[in-house]
Symmetry: C4
Subunit: 207 residues, 4 copies
């Protein structure tokens, strides 16, 4: 590894790969009903798995989108960014397990608190790593196509995510259903357009 | 996420990734026969799994091809497109489960109606999302390399898919084998070239 | 899907994705020994799984390399190429199942003939599809960077693969160990450089 | 396959794919606790799985980074490089199995020596293949953007990895916990920046 690594394109490519695979592996944790004689009943009883699948998949979709927002503005990927990004990918790749535990707990009616907290912690850690990477990058690794207001806007957005996901995790430890609801609200909030939130200058290449 | 996202190249890349992974995961739902003493018999008894595998894989191949047709002409990927595309990927990534349920039902001789309807609904939802994305994009997000006749031709094709897959799903609810046959006919129809169906102008980069 | 599709780059990208995933999924079919008290013994007893893994992985590596050789020279990917390539990917993606059946048969000492023949047929079908794609492409879809001698050389190579893999499959139906040996010899043959085999002109970009 | 293959871009692409998939599949080997009544207890008892997951994932991250360091400087990928790289990918793709065996052994308190040695051998083989590829490439396949000092620096780094991982494997055969600790120290060593270690000239594109 060079000490002065530059092009983040490959970091983005491998990250996209891991994120896409982690999202697609989520389905493997949903086991088809063994009893096909009452298949409709068995499929309906799997609602916690569908819920865990949908919430996790949509959150991963946001992780992906925000990862691109971040790396669109990172010109140099130094060793610290590589390291933090690898930890981020390790965290994201853990989601199929967390989603499976979440579904099992709601299906059995036991351990929902534990499951919601663990599932939430994975996303909370992801948000923390986004903040760390951005905090590390913003001093001397950013490209010229973003002004200080844009840097702060993205920073605020990542801090908000940290706060929101942390709150959802804590609430989930008290009342699991409430925690899941706050996570779902976060998905809606992040996908809806927010007027004036971001003030980029320069070419906007985000997708 | 920027409010004015532009380059759909990354959307296409992540979509290709999820589609490729979902298709390749289909095989994991086929469990090798436990009894190797009568291996040929056991392998032949898995015919419903092979059928579910082949029908689903070929349909996913068409989803992939049509996704490229669509995004070849989308110049801007706004927030709504990103959202709808993420829901589309969530739907496609669900297919290994649906195919597994389908195979189990035909193997056991129970629940075929339920299984065919669920499997069909996943593709029907995909077709509906294609129509939504195209309907949303066609007003102000398309590139210049397509004329109004081309836009309408693609739109008609997506509407036909919605109608065909919806019909197959309903028929499958009445007579499962008939539903599967209509799905299989759709595969043949979409792969065969259809003279004059599409009237693109400008460079044709579709693949 | 356009009737006149041109750029095969995306076909190559999705094919690389499916091939990489199929190869990497092979390992999921190797189940860790349940009894850790005699772990070394249990690991050694899995030798048929390691053999099936290695033979299949190396053959998939050759499929990948030859897929690039072929598509390096295909300038247009028409609808028929798309269709045949999708069937090829469906065949390759089936390999984790075939490798698992092969390992189970050798582990149990039952059904080796059936398993070797099925495993061989998957590769035989892949070779047949390579020949079909090349046969279809060679008349009017090739790029200018290959001369007739090069076209014939690649064609001969694909025909040889068809013959070799077909022979290995038939021999495996008679004497399973012999079939596996002939497959292994094919791997060695294809990886070793063969002087004068290929007579490309123009830029050689193959990798 | 051409006898004189040149562009390593595709080799890098397929390698990135296999590495990303292998890393992301690691999570599938962690089975959620069956007993949700004592979920927290069950989740904590899975610590060997988390450890195996984290150590293996971070090591794979280094394999990925070093693979790019190496191929950044390889201008031609000849047949031997293709072959050695395929064996390397076969080795990396085996890691989900090795990590699973490692976790099982520490969970059960049996077979830790065997498991640590097998897990270590997979990484030792990877290091050996890095050395072989670099040794083969350095004579006539390197690009001009590296000087002899840089070539030797990378070579020394790969030799160090071979020595370190070999030592960790041997120590693990004597005292499993010590082996794991030496592997973990290797992760820390490789991610930390090392002043003056590498003396590249020319464009530094490594990421």
């Amino acid at each position: 590894m060079s000490e002065d690594v530059r092009d983040p394109a490959r970091v983005v490519a491998i990250s996209d790969g891991v994120i896409a695979i982690a999202a697609t592996l989520l389905v493997l944790e949903i086991r088809p009903p063994a009893d096909t004689e009452h298949l409709l009943h068995g499929l309906l009883a799997l609602w916690p798995s569908y819920l865990a699948y949908a919430v996790t998949f949509m959150l991963v979709g946001q992780v992906w989108a925000n990862h691109h927002v971040m790396f669109d503005h990172i010109r140099h990927a130094d060793r610290m960014i590589l390291f933090l990004n690898t930890v981020l990918l390790m965290d994201i790749a853990f989601l199929p397990f967390a989603a499976s535990v979440l579904a099992d707990a709601f299906r059995d009616g036991h351990g929902e608190r534990t499951a919601v907290v663990m599932h939430g912690l994975v996303f909370f850690l992801a948000a923390a790593l986004f903040n760390l990477i951005w905090w590390h990058a913003r001093h001397h690794l950013l490209s010229n196509n973003i002004n200080p207001a844009g840097v702060r806007a993205i920073g605020r957005r990542f801090q908000l995510a940290l706060l929101w996901l942390g709150t959802a995790t804590i609430l989930g430890g008290l009342l699991p259903v409430l925690g899941v609801a706050v996570f779902a609200a976060f998905i809606a909030f992040y996908w809806l357009p927010i007027s004036g939130e971001l003030g980029f200058t320069g070419p906007r290449r985000t997708a």
